[in-house]
Amino acid sequence: MPAPALNAALLSLTGALLLASLLIGPAGIAPGTALLALVQDQGATTLVMREIRLPRALLGVCVGASLGLGGAAMQGYLRNPLAEPGLLGVSSSAALGAVLAIQTGLAAAFAPALPLAALAGAALSGAAILLLAGPRGPSLTLILAGIAISALAGALTSLVLNLSPNPFAATEIVFWMLGSLADRSFSHLWLALPFMAAGALLLLRLGPALDALTLGEDAAATMGVRLLRLRLSVVAGVAAMVGAATAVAGTVGFVGLVVPHLLRPLVGARPSRLLPASALGGAAMVLAADVAVRLILPERDLKLGVLTALVGAPVFLHLIYATRRRLG
């Protein structure tokens, strides 16, 4: 599919889901009233639309784009379709950073400490993955390194939350493991957006280098790619995007796996074209999941990660099946 057509299709899909996200909610506001309330003050309805549904929908776009783009960049760099921020422990390390920032009171004293700490967690685990598995590493090493880092970060997150004097802290382990966009406000969006934007700028420029890397590191290095700079850019960009997304929405898994996997055939498998397409596709997937949690169980705060895992885990198993020779 030609690039403009594909991106236009993904953009309209994201737009339609954004609209659905604005119109669907437990309050049961009629679509016409809802849209009118967005632009014109209608009291409580306007409050619902502007302060609850709009930030939630926009955050869904940003979180999804971050996870999709982060996944596509990691896969392109590691040259492995199994590379995914959630599976490799980058998201859970970001969650650990965020939980530490909240529990130490750092986030309350200095708001940007929350995304910054998540970014640091994501960067540390991202660097550890690259060191452990290496860009030439086989899938098995990659997945094992990811399991170890996820388990460690998850356990430390639970430990920190269990040690908290706050009685609610322990109950939100689920949130950090599965993610949710419920009741997020514009303050969360403004907190995460600068980091996501910086990460996106960094990652979207890596297209040509990731294309060259298709031919291996040696060939890429002789095609003008600075490998060290590329590696640092990938770690920094993925950490900024996934860290900021995790800091405000928890760990939403499998988006970075499923979206690039589904879109790869449509972009002719080119890593450079996969980057923007995955950002749009990720936004659409998270918006769809967030609409679905509100349709399935509107009165319960069903976690986003439940739905993305329902779609993502089978894709993951299929990929393992397809690459089992390499895994062995």
Binding site: P26, A27, T45, I52, A108, D183, P298
Partner: protein, 279 residues
């Protein structure tokens, strides 16, 4: 089923109901060494026990954020709900709540200690019955009856005059709303408010999406008190959409937690806010 088997079961049932009747009868001698392991039984026991009768209360009841009687509780040694420490105090009666770990309760029973479990009060009426139950268990029936009478008198004095009943919502961390059929809901009603969550179909406790609450637009929102440390669960209470609603000055503090006469303090404070709303 054969007739013989039926007869045998019938005999067994009779025997066990006789045993139950025996257990329900007032105990001959009042317990002398009582340990309470639950925030709410702690407070009931502190109110009713004879001097020296109560040995220990739970550590939670010494924390003013959750306990309405922290000061009184601090005069006794604390326990942390562990079977071992409770056993070593050599109690002859242990008071537990239904949320006390079942394993701990059954462990203590196996060790030969009498363990009595009280459900949390879900209504103002259960405040009365809990007072009477603990009074009976401690052999302090007379004190308990006096306290119930005082409670009834105070509650009647606080009863709102007929007239306008504004809407209020009880909204806590994670968007948990208390409906009319809860202790908190009855406190709200006693203070002269209608429960806004009832309009959204909430009767007991339920998670109420923030946008539903905003659409209900209650005249007053009463939230939970802030806990130490930080949590995401409480972030919803800072949401700009919630801040736009009228918020109660006083949070749902320790007075709201347990079914004791302390709930009257909460009723009184809320009544004051209702009168302020009317102006």
């Amino acid at each position: 089923m054969t007739a013989r088997a039926a007869r045998r079961i019938w005999a067994w049932l009779r025997a066990s109901s006789a045993a139950l009747a025996l257990a329900a009868a007032p105990v001959a001698a009042a317990p002398e060494r009582v340990v309470s392991m639950n925030l709410c039984t702690d407070q009931l026991a502190l109110m009713l026990a004879a001097p020296g009768q109560l040995l220990s209360v739970s550590a939670l009841s010494q924390d003013p954020r959750s306990s309405a009687m922290a000061e009184a509780a601090r005069r006794l040694p604390a326990n942390h709900g562990r079977a071992e420490e409770v056993f070593l105090m050599r109690p002859d009666l242990v008071l537990a709540g239904s949320y006390t770990t079942p394993a701990t309760r059954s462990m203590l029973s196996r060790l030969g200690i009498r363990v009595e479990t009280l459900p949390p009060a879900a209504s103002l009426d259960e405040v009365r019955s809990n007072l009477r139950t603990v009074g009976r268990l401690l052999g302090r029936e007379v004190e308990a009856e006096a306290m119930v009478a005082e409670f009834d008198a105070d509650l009647a004095a606080l009863a709102p005059a007929e007239g306008e009943r504004p809407d209020a919502a009880l909204y806590q961390a994670q968007g948990y709303a208390s409906g009319p059929e809860t202790l908190a809901g009855e406190i709200l009603a006693a203070a002269g408010f209608d429960n806004a969550a009832a309009a959204a179909g909430v009767s007991g406790g339920a998670f109420l999406p923030l946008e539903v609450l905003v659409t209900l637009a209650p005249d007053l929102v009463v939230s939970g008190g802030r806990q130490p440390g930080a949590s995401r669960a409480e972030e919803v209470l800072d949401h700009p959409a919630l801040r736009a609603l009228h918020r109660s000055e006083a949070p749902m503090g320790s007075d709201w937690v347990c079914g004791t006469p302390h709930v009257l303090a909460a009723v009184e404070r809320l009544s004051g806010e209702r009168r302020a709303l009317a102006h």
